[in-house]
Amino acid sequence: MGHTDDQLVAVRAQIDAHDAPLKEARFRLQLVRDIVEGFTGALRTYRSGSLAHHTMNHPVTDGDGGLVLDRRYYPGLGPEGGGEPPTEVCAQLCALLGPEVRRTYPQARCSTSKRGPKLTFGAPIEDQDPTVDMVVALTRRDGAGLWIPNLHTDRWEASDPEGHVELFNAGPASLRQTRRSVIRLAKAWNKQFTEPGMASFHLSTLALEFVEPGGSVARALHTLFERSATRLERGQATPDPAGVSAPLKLLLARATVAARLRKAADALADALAHDDDPIAVQAALHRVFWKYVEDPHNNGLAQAAALLRSRRPVSTAALGIGGPAAVVATTRAYGGR
């Protein structure tokens, strides 16, 4: 193992989810699943998201799952039924969940998120208080996957969260392990940006596509950044891995996300090209994981960037301007060629 992989292990040690909150998130999700299985017309429940994909990072924020309803019990619901929107059934589920969860967590509250009921528990563990998001899903008459609600548009959308879990947990053990490590690192990279350019699921999907058996984590991470950047530069979208829902959307302009991925790919390529030089590797990895890897040359740039990232007025002295100190207000950069 070269220095790049060694130093990525140190990054992973910083981003790994802690055991106690992870265990707590799993317990909460199971509790909610047990309760909703008693809901009228319930067929089954499932786990989804990073908890089910084994790609949770620190801090543990949520546990995702879903309740699958038998469409025949709700003939009015969904695009293949009477066209009824999901709002009412989500409200009914919330009415069941709130009192039941409060038997175990007296401070728990049930509200709704985009996909269905969202439980908050008011019982932090190590300053982390993971929520549970429960998707209310309907079986589909035609086509694979499920109908899941979009409460923001009050419509149903086709998706296959159970299929995603199968896909992300498929393959030989060594491939799964490398892919999970790569996904965790890519998520940590993405979250460093004040405005992340991609959803975690999008990065996971790219890793599913691009991480191949046999390589080290560093090489696999480089491949992920490199191929993802190329895809975006070519204007191509990422298809849903289960082939059920629409192609995945970016959270920012394509050019912005592509530039970020390209810089990360170039920096990792630099690290791998100097894999026997720990300082060169550290300097290159600092360009990718600036919140986790210190700049070995410590020339003040990272500190100055951190100061500016805070979006607070900054003294001219901190910006290297001499003479009487003055305060520089925050502005919004504009323009572009």
């Binding site: 810089k263 990232r309 207000a329 950069a333 572009g336």
Partner: protein, 151 residues
């Protein structure tokens, strides 16, 4: 024969305004020197000085005030120009022109604060070139949306 109406001279036409501006830059130890304004701003007021933002090294900065819009500085810097926030002529886009005055530089803020804005912009650019992160707010100027992607 029609007489042209009187117009107030631009601020830098008066030594009483121009000299304190230069003096403030001198006090900031950036070695200001007056230079000829570039062709598009002919007749304007241009200064060149050297600043050293942390982590970047010395940069030669040219600040230009044109006669057409004398309150708006155009700032040119030597070195790399790849940046998401430059105008077509290579000058720095440090603020959104239609933001409220407190989110833009105004002449009453003084030249030292302008140097601060320039240094902050150069630090952000340098950081962006390394990492892809713009360490600060940006006004949206791109029209392309994710929906425009093709498969």
């Amino acid at each position: 024969m029609t007489r042209l109406s009187w117009r107030e001279p631009v601020w830098f036409a008066r030594p009483a305004h121009r000299l304190p501006f230069i003096a403030a830059l001198t006090a900031a130890a950036v070695g200001p020197r007056c230079v000829r304004a570039p062709r598009p701003y002919r007749g304007g007021f241009a200064l060149r000085c050297t600043i050293t933002p942390p982590g970047i090294g010395a940069c030669t900065v040219t600040i230009v005030f044109g006669k057409g819009s004398p309150e708006v500085p155009r700032v040119f810097v030597d070195g790399p120009t790849d940046s998401p926030h430059r105008y077509v002529d290579g000058s720095l886009c440090m603020w959104y022109p239609y933001d409220p005055p407190e989110r833009r530089w105004q002449r009453s803020d003084g030249p030292v604060v302008l140097l601060g804005h320039i240094a902050a912009h150069l630090i952000r650019e340098h950081w962006w070139r390394r990492t892809g992160e713009w360490a600060g707010d940006e006004a949206a100027h791109r029209t392309q949306t994710p929906q425009q992607e093709t498969r």
